[in-house]
């Protein structure tokens, strides 16, 4: 008796909005540091800024105790190169990422991450997170260090990726943030950054937002602002009825953090990059199906008759034992894990896999569908660490998978979990649940990040970027902790020597007028969801895999049309719908930035999966460079940067020198 239809049937009336609504009411708050986004990165930014003595306000679109892509937990921690057991140095790891991406990743950010990832994790341990096998559940396992009781994942030889009991990591860091007295503002949809004098490109002095329960308006004044938001998950598709359950980002992922920076005149990089959207939610519930990738790495796949699928190393050479699935092969010093923002791995860093030609072998009858994973073929330690620790801890797995499946009777000690039965090509990627082949090819994901320096400062004074999505070179869950933590520290340091900021009242009032238009007009416009779908259609058609100058300009024109007509006439029934509509406005800004960046890159690129039909030659060497786009007085402009701009003047020529010069208070913890 709890869905809306049941209530209406029982009561004979529609329930009133449950929260008091005060559209337009202004709430002002001032702090040294404002953090926008309360996922793991934002919470870590708030904590480190508060630790550094700053007063901090954090604004989150959901509720910071559970929100964000990392809010549902984590089972493994990448790039912990300074943990006492690691055999990989920050330099080696950074080079692996940079070389794999052919230079198109912020290697300075990777270097910062790999120097501090372990520190970020140890700090969580001091707040109560379990990161060691203190109960000796895995004593004697080859993935365990007996002295430190740390557990390793994926590459057991090199020990730079850790297994962690991170199912409650978000409440753990949230509680620490609360303890430090951070002013937490939940249900805030950020709508703009405020700049000195209201000038595009000026120093950032705060932000505006609306509360999506009360409709009230918020003006945040701050000496420094950290943007720690997620990506634009709703940009190329908005079909939550079909896809939300199977997605790795929630509805609030609307590129808001990028959009408000674009409007404020900040530089963004790699906005032209798009790729197949394999995690768009057209597959199955995450981790719910038999597969052998990521958390399920190493799981034995068998066919309907119990015949096991063989594995190969990164170079395609057969490997025989279970142990070898977690070990480097010939020609490898170490392996990089997946999910760290690398779109193509060089084989010397790639993980072992089931045979690459599995689709063809199924077609020829060598393996009979359906496939299963047979965890009983693993050792007790391997089976327990996979199902009991990792599925018990990873994002969207503890309740959705472990709790649900075991209550339903699934027992990994005696049951085979079926893999999806799907189009054969989809078996080429062992992350079967994501089933990228099920995503229509015109639905892509894309966009880049803020251009950041060694302080994780953006091109705008007072604005810092710290999260996997907003900082150029960020990655997975642990990386978001680490960049957020670093950006919060640097932002706090900046405020120590910086005078207070003055907000421009005209800018505030103009924004307040803009955001409430949809609740004040006649109710004959359309709502946010139909507009979102139209934005997605424009992106699919005009910023898809193949583009030329005319299609991109058409896309810009049509987004502008949507803004002038449908968005301007849209209606919102309540503050929740108003928030979603404001997110649509941000999606348009995000899409426009992508199209401007795509216009600026007048060459095609393999690693960027970027195909200009009017510049069809792939990878002309003179275009091996980064483009930073921004708006100046409302007009888009682009600047060229060397791929390794972070090692060129004004920066020092080595990672180590820059890191030591900029990190501040970064002595490693023991």
């Amino acid at each position: 008796m709890s869905i809306w239809h049941e209530y209406v049937q029982r009561e004979g009336q529609v329930p009133e909005w449950p929260y008091p609504v005060n559209y337009g009411k202004v709430n002002e708050m001032a702090s040294d540091v404002l953090v926008i986004g309360g996922g793991v990165a934002g919470v870590r930014a708030a904590i480190s800024a508060a630790q550094a003595g700053a007063s901090v306000v954090l604004a989150d679109a959901g509720h910071a105790k559970r929100s964000g892509s990392g809010g549902a937990g984590v089972d493994h921690w990448h790039g912990a190169c300074t943990n006492p057991c690691s055999k990989v140095t920050p330099e080696e790891y950074t080079k692996g990422c940079y070389d794999s991406m052919q230079g198109y990743t912020g290697a300075h950010v990777r270097y910062i991450i790999t120097n501090e990832s372990w520190d970020s994790l140890v700090e969580c341990e001091t707040w109560g997170l379990q990161i060691r096998d203190v109960r000796d559940e895995f004593k004697g396992a080859e993935f365990r260090d007996e002295k430190t009781k740390l557990l390793f994942a994926y590459d057991y030889d090199n020990r730079h990726i850790l297994r962690v009991w991170g199912w409650n990591i978000k409440p753990v860091i949230y509680n620490e943030m609360k303890r430090l007295g951070v002013n937490i503002q939940n249900r805030i949809c950020a709508t703009s950054l405020l700049t000195e004098g209201g000038r595009q490109g000026g120093r950032v002095v705060g932000a505006t937002g609306i509360n999506t329960r009360t409709g009230e308006f918020y003006v945040f004044k701050a000496k420094a602002t950290v943007v720690a938001t997620g990506g634009a998950g709703r940009l190329f598709q908005c079909l939550p009825e079909l896809t939300a359950s199977a997605s790795m980002s929630d509805m609030t992922s609307a590129g808001v953090g990028h959009a408000i920076g674009w409007k404020a005149g900040a530089e963004l990089v790699l906005m032209e990059k798009t790729g197949p959207n394999t995690l768009s939610g057209f597959g199955y519930a995450p981790y719910s199906m038999g597969n052998a990738s990521n958390t399920y790495h190493g799981a034995p796949i068998v066919d309907a008759n119990g015949k096991e699928v063989p594995w190969v190393d990164a170079f395609g050479q057969p490997i025989q034992t279970q142990h070898q699935r977690f070990a480097c092969g010939p020609g490898q010093k170490f392996q990089l894990g997946i999910g760290i923002g690398i779109s193509a791995y060089l084989p010397q860093y790639r993980q072992n896999n089931p045979v690459f030609d599995l689709p063809e072998r199924i077609r020829k009858g060598e393996f009979a569908l359906p496939l299963y994973i047979d965890l009983t073929r693993m050792s007790e330690h391997e089976r327990r660490v996979l199902w009991g620790l990792m599925i018990g801890s990873e994002g969207k797995t503890r309740i959705p998978i472990y709790d649900t499946f075991t209550k339903a009777g699934f027992d990994p000690d005696q049951d085979l979990l079926q893999a999806p039965v799907m189009t054969l090509e989809a078996y080429a990627n062992s992350c079967f649940w994501a089933a990228g082949m099920n995503t229509p090819p015109h639905i892509r994901s894309g966009g880049g990040s803020y251009m950041v320096d060694w302080d994780l400062r953006t091109s705008l004074e007072g604005l810092y970027a710290g999260s996997g999505s907003t900082a150029y070179g960020g990655g997975c869950h642990g990386e978001s902790h680490t960049t957020g933590r670093y950006a919060g520290r640097k932002a706090a340091q900046y405020t120590r020597t910086t005078p207070g900021a003055t907000v421009d009242p005209h800018q505030v009032e103009a924004e307040r007028a803009r955001v409430y238009a949809s609740v004040r007009r006649n109710r004959d416009g359309i709502g946010w969801k139909e507009i979102n779908m139209a934005i997605a259609r424009v992106m699919q058609d005009y910023c898809g895999k193949y583009k030329n100058e005319l299609t991109l300009k058409s896309g810009l024109r049509l987004l502008g049309e949507l803004r002038q007509k449908e968005l301007a006439e849209a209606f919102s029934s309540n503050p929740h719908e108003l928030g979603r509509l404001m997110e649509c406005s941000s999606l348009m800004d995000f899409g426009e930035a992508m199209m401007h960046a795509s216009l600026a890159r007048k060459a095609s690129s393999g690693i960027l999966d970027f195909h200009r039909l009017d510049y069809a030659e792939m990878d002309p060497p003179e275009w091996n460079k980064l483009l930073a786009v921004k708006q100046v007085q409302g007009e888009a402009s682009a600047r060229e940067l060397p791929l390794d701009y972070f090692l060129k003047p004004p920066f020092a020529p080595t990672y180590e020198e820059n890191y030591r010069a900029h990190c501040g208070d970064c002595e490693p913890r023991v």
């Binding site: 869905i3 809306w4 049937q9 959901g62 620790l389 309740i399 959705p400 709790d403 339903a408 009777g409």
Partner: protein, 114 residues
Amino acid sequence: MSDKIYMVPNPPTPNKAVAFDADVCTGCYSCVEVCPTDVLMPNPDAGKPPIVLYPEECWYCGGCVEECPAPGAIAMLHPTSQRISVNWKRKSTGELFRLGMKNPPPPNNRPPSG
């Protein structure tokens, strides 16, 4: 429960996302408070289970279940198109099971690690 027939939109898809056991739920709305996407609303009848207003916005993190102080009050339900996809086979007997089946096997009560 009224016998009247009302004009209402089609049921949302998925219908529920989460199901409440009204006998166990205490109506504390801790789940409403933390839901990242505001799927749930407090019930106008205070103390009764929350109203699932925006089930299509649920991304199935399970945070509501973890936050709930009354174990068993909330069951997270993946869309039926996904529950029908989750199948397993008992190795020793060849028996086939699926998530949400009418006569499920007995639960496996082993807790997660840690």
